[in-house]
Symmetry: C2
Subunit: 324 residues, 2 copies
């Protein structure tokens, strides 16, 4: 391997000078700069990132933990985060947790070991004690972890209300909402309360169906949909995560229930999946790009020592579709 010393030798300068040239630091005379650049070119020298990392005590790597990378919501989030981090000079390492027992734990240990400078944590973990006493940069994505960890999330309160208001003019009699597991501590849980509150005030019956914390497979959603129609045959409105609503549309079609005539549907999240079917699904849209921007911004500024300011919930919007 050709190292900085080889370059120095060939250019007849000191390694430190080569370092200065390569990093555009300090003052280097035009003539030595040229010499160094020539030597670099001649040897086609490429500096070692590992050595640099050790010396600087930095990796410029940020880890992103999510329950399931391939889920449209997280996939889009990761895409956006990766772009934002790249802009700021950081690399993105990913980790999907639902398929791997305690990968989250392993990942957090990597943070300790300085494999990365910080992490954006969005997994649906149930064991939060692994974060206790950790002083490394961590930003939570739509998750409560502990008091020291700032959290980036959408304004789920408005989200719940927005969804409820979408149903209101249609005077549904019986709405069922599908929700994730309550045991997962996420600010997203408030949207259910806001939803129920707004609708029950208006006199609508609302029932709730809770899913498992690790349900991400389309199969899981299909089962839930079947279950829902069996348990509540008179349902005329459903509110739930994108994929759950997709499954409900399928099952409704199979049972001859017409959407939106006999059944109103509103999805929560509003990922692209609500826009690729035959009907556009009416949905509360989480601002994934904005969330990703904030997550990237907060984690990198923490890595650089700047304390994170308080974060206000990011605004959600309603996507007018064909299903409600």
């Amino acid at each position: 391997m050709t190292s900085i010393k080889d370059v120095a030798k060939l250019a007849k300068v000191a390694p430190s000078t080569v370092s200065l040239v390569l990093n555009h630091k300090g003052y280097v005379s035009e003539i030595t700069r040229k010499k160094v650049e020539e030597a670099v070119a001649k040897l086609s020298y490429v500096p070692s990132e590992m050595a640099r990392n050790l010396s600087l005590n930095r990796t410029n790597m940020i880890g992103v933990i999510v329950p399931e990378i391939s889920h449209p919501f997280f996939a889009t989030f990761i895409r956006e985060v990766e772009v934002e981090l790249y802009r700021r000079g950081y690399k993105t390492m990913v980790c999907s947790t639902v398929q791997k027992a305690n990968a989250e734990h392993a990942f957090v240990n990597m943070l300790r070991r300085q494999t990365m400078d910080g992490i954006i944590m969005g997994a649906h973990s149930l064991e939060l004690d692994i974060y206790d006493g950790l002083s490394h940069p961590i930003v939570a994505f739509d998750r409560f972890i502990n008091e020291n960890i700032p959290i980036v999330h959408a304004d789920h309160q408005s989200g719940g209300r927005l969804a409820a208001k979408a149903f209101l003019p249609h005077r549904c009699h019986h709405i069922v909402q599908i929700m994730g597991a309550r045991e997962v501590l996420t600010p997203a849980n408030v949207h259910h309360e806001a939803f129920i509150e707004t609708l029950t005030e208006a006199g609508t019956r609302v029932d709730t169906l809770e899913m498992a914390w690790n349900a991400f497979d389309p199969i899981d959603f299909l089962q839930t949909a079947e279950q829902l129609f069996n348990k509540y045959p008179d349902v005329d409105g459903i509110f739930g995560p994108d994929l759950a609503i997709c499954s409900c549309m399928r099952v409704a079609a199979q049972r001859g229930i017409h959407v939106p005539e006999n059944l109103k549907l509103v999805a929560y999240d509003g990922t692209y999946i609500t826009r690729v079917g035959q009907q556009v699904i009416t949905a509360v849209v989480q601002p994934i790009g904005h969330l990703a921007y904030m997550a990237a911004e907060k984690i990198t500024s923490w890595v650089n020592g700047r304390p994170g300011e308080k974060l206000y919930a990011l605004p959600v919007t309603l996507q007018k579709g064909d299903t409600c």
Copy 2:
């Protein structure tokens, strides 16, 4: 930062002994092992990955380059690759290229700089010269890069035939296939030829619509669908990538064309998106899990010095759906 020396000092042993204990290497007496472990615990010492990397000249990090992380096909691929790499003790770094001008170039440079040990390259790059003379471990995912780079891909020849055979019994008169840009050098291109061949042999007219190399947004596919129905009003069969077929279903529905009665649809890829709509889309399914497994296997064995054996195309399957 507490280092291996501090542990050694506290345990009254040499740093190398601590290293042996930590890495479960060589022979260490039970008694000194205990001493070391106690010291580690007392100092809550965590070894530095950066120092280890430099010393071992290894990062245990694999980069995965794709055009678009959030696309269902790539999102699923990355999920599977990440799981497979994790099993083998590697971390996964991702890079999405369509949004970032020459990120691919930057990424390949990271390989040179030893930021990662190897990369799995699946981007739709048009400039392949950046790979010339690169001797680092690279495995191409469904892309031709150059002679030295092994390639993991599905059996697209069978894929094209399988799709054609799905149409055959329905005796379509005019089938249109939507394809990616020909300028992207991918083994996937053969499926179009196999498709046309099989159908024209049977006397069916087949037209082809080519999309831009960087088309990944649902919007792009919707435009293509509109264009298709305008240009070929008599079309009664469409073959194309999952998202293109989704868009065609939407546009067909808007125009009152019934699927499958008046229009047969077959998708290529068969990602989960073909399974979340009201109708299951008939599709040729690429074995994403298998592809990911092979990609992970080949890149890690190359990193470990074992030469990659030749790879045979991985088998595809047909998903019987409601659309053909």
